[in-house]
Each structure stands twice: as C-alpha cells, then as structure tokens.
C-alpha cells in the first residue's frame, strides 16, 4: 500500500485497530487513502488557479489604482488652475465638489462650503438666495443663465451659470454638475461699449444734422450766385466779361457739386442714406444724361453716344435720383479723362423676367486709362489715380467712391477694366422691378424749346423768404415776360392765393411763419381758395431722400432743385403754360 495519507494515518491512530481488523479493512483503506490523495491533488489544483487569478487581480487593481491616481491628479491640477468654477451638487442640493476657483470667486473656503445648501452662498442684489442654480424639472438637460449676484463678501458680480442634471441608469436625478464663470469684466465692457455706441450715434446724428443744415445754408446763396451768373450771361456780356462770367458760372457749379458729393458721402458713411422706390422712366434719365454731356463732349471735340438696346424697358421702379447720379458720375469721369475719341454709354438687358429686369450699364471711354496697381485705389474716397490728376482734372475724388458705395447699397458692384492710354470700361448691373405707371415728377431734363417764347400769359406766385433768391427768380421771370407776385412766407402766400388766381405757384419749402408744406396743403384744402387746383412746384435746396414723397403728400405737383438751372425752370413754366392753353 502507498504511504498512508496524513489524515487517514491520524484517524487510524485514534481508533487503534487490531491486526486482524487492519487486514480485513486493507482494501477499503487503500481506496480511502487514494481518495484523500486525489482530494488533495484537486484542492492544490484549484488553489493554484486561485493564487494565480488572485495575484493577477491584485496587480491589475494596483495598476488601475495608480492610473486613477495619475488621472485624478491631473484632473485636480487642471481643476485647480482654471479660472472657472466647476461644481457638483448632490441630490439634496448640497455642494459636493468645488474647485479652488470658488475661493477666488466668493472668498469662502471650499471646505467651509462643501456639505452646505447650494443657495446659501450666492444672493441677488436684494439679498435673496439665488435658487435657480439647479432645476429638478428641467427635462432638456442643460440649463444656462447669466445673473447678477452678490458674493458673501458683498461684491456684485455677473455670473454665467451652466448646470446639468446627473442621472442614474434608471433616470433618477442623482445630482448636478456645472460651471460658474465670472463674466463681470466682459459684461462691464459690453455695457461700456453700448454706452460708447450710443454716444457715437448721438455725435453722428449731430454731425449729420450739421452737414445737412450747412449744405442747405450753402446752397441758398449758391442759388443766387449761379442764378446771377446765368442772368449776366444772358444779358449779352462783352467779350472780356464773358470769360469772367464763364469762370464764375463754372466755379459756382463746381462748388455745388462738391457740396452735393460731400453730403452724399456722409450719408452713405453714416448709413443714413435711404433708397427711394418710385416709378421712373429710364429714357428720361438717359435723355437727361445726353443733354448734360453732349455739349461738354462737343467742347472737348470728342463724341458722346448713348446706345440703348431696343428691348430695354422704359418704365421701371427704383431710385431715379441715385441712378442718374451714378450715370452722371461715370460719364462725367469718362469725358473728363478723355482727350481723343469719345465716351459710349451702353444700356442692355442682361436678364429679363416677368416682374424684374436686370439691366447692364457700361460706360466706355478712350481716355488716359488707370494703371493696374491704382485700380483699387481709385474707389477710395478722396483718391485719384495720380496726385497730379487732381490738379489737372479737378474733382473731389469722391465721385467714384460714392458711385461704388451707392451700387453696393443697391446690391450691385462697380466693375472696372482699364488699360493705360487705351481707355477704361466701368460697368454695373441693376435689377429693377418693372412698372407700368408714369413717373410723378415732371422731367426736369426735358429738352427746352430752342427759342424763348414769351410767358406773358402766365401769372405766377413766387413764395420765398430769401430776398436774393426771389431776386434771381424775379429777374428770369421778368426776362420771360411772365407776370408774377412775391410772397415772403407761406402765410402771406395763403392770403394772396385766397384773393388772386394764379397759373403757377413756386413754393420754397423752408420758411419762417409758415413753411411751404403747410402753405401748399392749406391752399389745396381751403374751400374758398381760387387756387385749389393750381400747379404748385416746390423750389428747394433740401436734399432729403423722402422729399419727393413729402411734396406729394402735401399736394404739390413737382420739385425744382435749387440752385436751379434756368433752362429747366423755363421748360417747366413753358409746359404749364402750354397745358393751360390746351385746357
């Protein structure tokens, strides 16, 4: 028999069996002995597995703990060094975690805060606890709010608070995590900026008003200067006077365009330029441009041609003033910088839809051209390609800048192709709504009759408080044999209109006692007025964008800009007279 297992050995010893029994039991004991050894063997095997698994587990756990320690060390370092407060609130609403930024924000130690209710440390301006930090009912997860808080040290701060519920797998809210960011500096800067902007807006408004007033004030005497120079030129001046008068006329007109440009530029820069939406005739605009520049071109011995494609519609909806300004600027530039050849204005349809049409305008000259590197510069305000250009050709240098910016406001872009000594091509496209009604404003640029007919059939009331202006108008009317009376303000005009029947009233708008608008309305509204239906034309130096709408509202029939071109004035008077005779 194999050596007895220690347990069996011990068990046998306890019983002290006699030899006979031992022999008898030998086969059984052999089996039991074998079984004990087998149990031991199995046990050792399992023990070994347990040992190995256990030591593996122990090592893995140790590594894991080290990694957790490393990571939590890093996180602690990060959380400890950022400026924002990171917090955790437990289900009962007590602080359970705060990073050191909390101490910086509130002046309260983190240890003194933890375990206390979340609303204990932050109060609103009245000292009520702020309870919106956590929101049990928030189903959308994240909650964010900017609030003004009082810290325990009594400092008012703007805080940006974000919090989010932490949910267990079963959806139950276990607590909240979030951040508190001190945005006091940002908020104060923001408020300061708003204040600064308000101040700037007030300052800008004052500037706009100043410029608008100034331009009106300048235009009024200019009106007289231009008018007088026209008058003198009509009175058969002597040869040597003619040169001086031409210079006077040219300079005053130039001054006027300068004032207009600066005013426009300011309007664009301050964003106060409003586009007008009115029916207009493109043909009328083009005719006007043609009439302005044909003579100019002739004087320079160059050609000026307008090529309008036959499919371009005539009646459109848009800002006629601005469109003619753009075209005038570009054509004027072309003629100004061209010594040989000529300038062509080409108008074509780029895209035609049922309601809209996209029209392309191209102004091409054979002038001095623009060097490549100056191409972007010429659109800058007060810039021309070369400094000597200003001396040679004059101008404010605002024309192109205004043109470009106007087009941008209208949703278009001014394109330029140019080659030095060959010429320049400026082009742009504009989308217009098609219109079917005739424009309200009489065409100021309509060609005046070649010969001056006497206006002796007309009786005209001129209303203007400026004596110089009335003098100029007076001179022209006298020249044209028209019968006229003068009223120095709206109230006087109203009185006169109630007793005398006139064929036309020329009405200044800004006057003391009663302005032109009120006067016009009263004349139209007064039952006993003899002039209920008399044509009333505004005669004004005002440049407001909505002046056309206003004069329509007050029952006036048209607008003549001051300073006026005598030819234009005549053509309107002539037309009124003709209409009267037809009636």
């Amino acid at each position: 028999m194999k050596k007895l297992h220690r347990l069996l050995n011990r068990q046998l010893r306890k019983f002290d069996l006699d030899e006979e029994t031992k022999v008898k039991m030998a086969p059984l004991l052999t089996l039991v002995n074998e079984a004990y050894y087998n149990f031991d063997h199995d046990l050792n095997h399992i023990e070994n597995i347990l040992e190995r698994s256990s030591s593996e587990l122990y090592e893995a756990n140790k590594q894991l703990k080290n990694r957790v320690e490393t990571i939590s060390g890093q996180l602690t370092k990060i959380a400890g060094n950022i400026n924002e407060v990171i917090f955790e609130v437990d289900r009962k609403g007590n602080w359970s975690y705060l990073n050191p930024a909390w101490e910086k924000l509130t002046g309260v130690m983190v240890e003194q805060t933890l375990g206390h209710p979340y609303h204990k440390f932050l109060q609103d301006e009245e000292g009520n606890p702020i309870k919106l930090l956590i929101d049990h009912d928030n189903k959308y997860g994240v909650f964010n709010k900017t609030i003004k808080c009082m810290t325990p040290l009594g400092v008012l701060k703007w805080l940006d608070i974000t919090s989010k519920a932490v949910r267990a797998k079963n959806g139950r809210v276990e607590g909240f995590i979030g951040t508190i960011v001190d945005i006091t500096n940002k908020k104060e800067t923001e408020l300061a900026l708003i204040q600064a902007k308000e101040k700037a807006t007030i300052a800008n408004k004052a500037k706009d008003e100043f410029l608008s007033t100034m331009s009106h004030e300048i235009r009024t005497p200019l009106n007289a200067v231009i008018g007088v120079s026209h008058l003198l030129l009509m009175e058969d001046p002597k040869e040597e006077q003619l040169e001086n008068l031409d210079a006077l006329k040219y300079s005053s007109e130039h001054l006027l365009s300068l004032v207009n440009d600066i005013l426009d530029f300011n309007k664009i820069a301050s964003g106060s330029l409003d586009l007008e939406m009115a029916d207009f005739s493109l043909d009328q605009i083009l005719n006007g441009v043609q009439s302005i520049f044909t003579n100019k071109a002739k004087q320079k011995n160059i050609t000026f041609v307008i090529r309008k494609h036959p499919n371009v519609p005539d009646l459109l909806l848009g800002d006629t003033t601005r469109l003619s300004q753009i075209l005038t600027n570009l054509v004027n530039n072309g003629i100004k910088f061209t010594e040989k050849g000529g300038v062509v204005l080409e108008v074509s349809v780029e895209d035609d839809r049922e309601e809209h049409t996209k029209i392309k305008f191209v102004v091409e000259d054979t002038g001095i051209g623009i060097p490549k590197k100056k191409k972007s510069q010429i659109f800058e305000p007060f810039a021309q390609a070369e400094t000597h250009t200003t001396r040679k050709y004059g101008g404010t240098g605002l024309g192109l800048a205004i043109t470009k910016q106007l087009l941008e406001i209208m949703g278009s872009d001014l394109k330029l192709k140019s080659e030095v000594d060959v010429g320049s091509i400026f082009s742009f496209s504009l989308i217009f709504k098609k219109s079917c009604s005739l424009p309200l404003v009489e065409d100021e640029n309509a060609p005046a009759p070649e010969s001056i007919e006497s206006l002796s059939e007309m009786k005209i009331l001129v209303v203007d408080d400026n004596r110089l202006n009335t003098m100029v108008v007076q001179k022209f009317l006298t020249r044209w044999d028209a019968d006229f009376e003068i009223a120095e303000n709206g109230l006087v005009a109203l009185k006169m209109a109630s007793s005398t029947c006139y064929d036309l009233i020329l009405m200044d708008l800004q006057m003391p006692v009663m302005n032109g608008y009120e006067a016009s309305r009263s004349i139209r509204d007064t039952h006993k007025s003899l002039n209920k239906d008399v044509p009333i034309y505004a005669l004004s130096a005002s440049t407001g964008a909505n002046i056309l709408t206003e004069i329509e509202e007050y029952g006036m029939d048209g607008l003549i800009h001051k300073p006026f071109n005598p030819k234009k004035l005549y053509s309107i008077l002539y037309k009124v007279m003709k209409r009267k005779s037809v009636c």
Partner: protein, 375 residues
C-alpha cells in the same frame, strides 16, 4: 523547574490529583463545556491554598501533541528561582478603556526585575490591540509580553478567565515573572495568504468596520462566505483580514468577533483604522502547519538552551481550517522544540506576542503564538 500535567475529562478527575512537589502555579485551560468548572477551581484552591491558579476558557485544549475538547488541561509548575505575581483587572463596558485596563495591569506588576508578563483576557469584551497598547505603556521594552484571548469554542457566547478561586468574564488576568534566571522564548506566525484586491477602509470606528471601498463590509463578507454566511460570526474566521496602515509595515491579521446586521458592521478583535488597507485572507492547511513550524523556529531562535515549558496559543480559525488535522501543527511545533518539553496551551480568540524578539508586542489573529520558559 518542576512540571506535572494532567488532562481532566470529568469533575471527579480532580479528586485523584496528586503532585510530588508543591506547585507555585497551576495553569488551567478549560473547555466551556466542562461541567462545573467553578467547583473544580474551588476544590483545587482549597487543596493548594498557596498555589496560584491562572487560566481561561478555550476552543480546544493542548497537552503534549494532543488537542482535546471538553476537558481541562492542568499544568502544575514550581519555579526554582523565578518569583510570580498574579493580578487581575475588570473590563468596563466600553472597549475604549481597554488601554487603561492594560496599563493598570502593568503598573501593578511593574518592578525592576520583572522579566515577563503572561496575560489572559476575556475574549469577547475586549479590544485586544488597545489592551496591548496599555500593557506596553507602563513597562520597559525589555519586559516581554505574551498571552491570548479566552475562547468559547465556535460559539462566541461566553468566555472566562481564572484568577485563583474566581472564574469570571469581562476580566483580564496576568501573571508577572520576576528574576534574572528566567529564560523566555516567543514567536508568532500565521501562514495565511492574502488574496484578491487591496481594499481601503472607508468607514470604521475603533474595532468596528462599516465600509470597505464605500461598500458595506458585512455584505462583502457574506458574498465570500456563500452558504457559510448563516454561521457568522463563527464562519467569519475563515476569512480574516490582512491589514496594514502606515504604522504597520508588516501586515497584521484581524479576525471577526461579531457582526451587526442592523448597521452592516463587523466587530474585530483589534482596531481597524479608517484609511488602512485590507485584503481578505484564505488558508491552506500545509501553509498553516508551516506557519506553526516557523513560529517554533522563531521561538527557538539561535539559543541552544533547553525549553522546559511551552505555551501554544493558536487561533480558533486555524482549527476550523485544519479540522481533524489540527494536531499536525502542534506536533510540528513540538518537533522543533525538541523532546522533554512540557507543552500546553489553547485555541483562542486572539494571540498576544511580538512577531519576533525585534518587534514590539501586538495583538494577532490566526497565528500560532508560542511562549517558552526555562530556568
């Protein structure tokens, strides 16, 4: 030194007792199942009125190579040169005062020629670790301290100590040994292995453990015990804890003394400080026996003197593991100590001794703790 040993299996056995010397002390290791133990002690006291009676209840009594049950092992000893002093201190309800009890004992025993304190304590109402702290506080580090906690089989119901004619619970008894001629040997070793991951004590109070890694400690125990869970706290002996904190570089072993289902806590024989690291332990019979042998080798050390009397205090947990093989560890110890030594002792609820002669005395669990005397 003269020694006489007897195993009493029934009260009447004491009538025939006779020694051929006048014993200075009789050591009594008594099973709580032995009938009328108080009467036995009283009759011994009557018979040997100049002899000190010193002992406690057990979970198994050791005599020679034998582990007995339901008996009283009696060892009568007369020292030739060594003086003895027997003292006792009552335990109050609260374990916090265990250190006070310990220091009271050492104060009563303190003397310049005090060599050794042998201490036996109630096994259920004591915080052994605190007791040891108190014992050590009042005596020179040269005074060695060993002993154990009385046991009540696997029942954890009632333990007692014997002080002359008195047999009582909630008491600590100690025997002081005086004189330069006494040679004391001691050693303590378990042989248990840690397994699984190291867990952190996250909630505890003195010797009551509530949470490990934030989880209720009792639940963890139950999950490892499986079917045996219903036999707690007895079956908890199968899974002692190996504990280390910054002060205990060598991990100490802690065994369960009781459980509390209400607050999910476990009560241990010694403190389980919060923040300490613990691992569960398991036993392997061979390694436990090896542990006992190691303990004997430590006790023997490099001394070549003859050991006359040996006290083996071994943990009840070891007995539960070894079952019928329990005597193997006693034999292993006796084999090392050599022939001619009188061996006695008991299976305990806790052992008190230094690990070896270089370390301070501490409370142990699950060890074979040996103390030897010679003159």
């Amino acid at each position: 030194m003269q020694i006489s040993q007897h195993k009493l299996t029934q009260p009447s056995d004491s009538r025939d007792l006779a020694f051929d010397f006048e014993p200075s002390v009789i050591f009594l290791f008594a099973s709580p199942k032995f009938p009328e133990i108080a009467a036995l002690v009283a009759s011994l006291r009557e018979k040997y009125e100049n002899t000190l009676l010193f002992g406690c209840s057990t979970a198994g009594e050791i005599i020679g190579n034998e582990v007995a049950d339901a008996s009283v092992i009696l060892t009568a000893v007369t020292f030739d040169k060594t003086r003895l002093k027997l003292v006792q201190v009552d335990l109050t309800e609260h374990c916090e005062h265990c250190a006070d009890a310990g220091s009271k004992i050492s104060l009563q025993l303190a003397s310049e020629d005090l060599r050794h304190i042998f201490v036996l304590s109630d096994g259920l109402h004591v915080n052994g670790a605190e007791l040891v702290k108190g014992l050590r506080s009042q005596v020179s580090p040269n005074v060695s301290i060993t002993g154990g906690l009385a046991a009540d089989g696997e029942d954890f119901q009632n333990t007692f100590v014997i002080h002359n004619e008195e047999v009582s619970s909630k008491r600590i008894v100690a025997l002081g040994f005086y004189g330069a001629d006494l040679k004391v040997g001691y050693g303590s070793k378990g042989g248990w292995d840690s397994f699984g991951i190291e867990r952190t004590v996250t909630k505890s109070s003195n010797n009551v453990l509530y949470e490990l890694d934030g989880q209720p400690a009792l639940e963890l125990y139950k999950s490892f015990l499986g079917d045996q869970a219903k036999n707690l706290p007895g079956s908890g002996l199968m899974f002692p804890l190996s504990m280390r904190d910054e002060n205990n570089q060598i991990p100490v072993v802690r065994t369960i003394l009781g459980i509390n289902e209400e607050d999910n806590s476990l009560t241990f024989a010694g403190n389980i400080p919060q923040g300490a690291y613990v691992r569960l332990m398991k036993a392997n019979i061979d390694r436990i026996i090896d542990g006992a042998e190691q303990s004997a080798l430590i006790t023997k050390g490099d001394s070549d003197h003859h050991h006359e009397l040996a006290f083996l205090i071994s943990c009840v947990g070891r007995r539960l593991v070894m079952k019928q093989l329990v005597e193997e560890e006693v034999e292993a110890v006796n084999d090392v100590l050599g022939p001619g030594v009188y061996t006695t002792g008991f299976y305990s609820y806790g052992e008190i001794a230094p690990f070896d002669k270089f370390s301070p005395c501490t409370l142990h669990n699950q060890t074979m703790t040996i103390t030897t005397f010679a003159e």
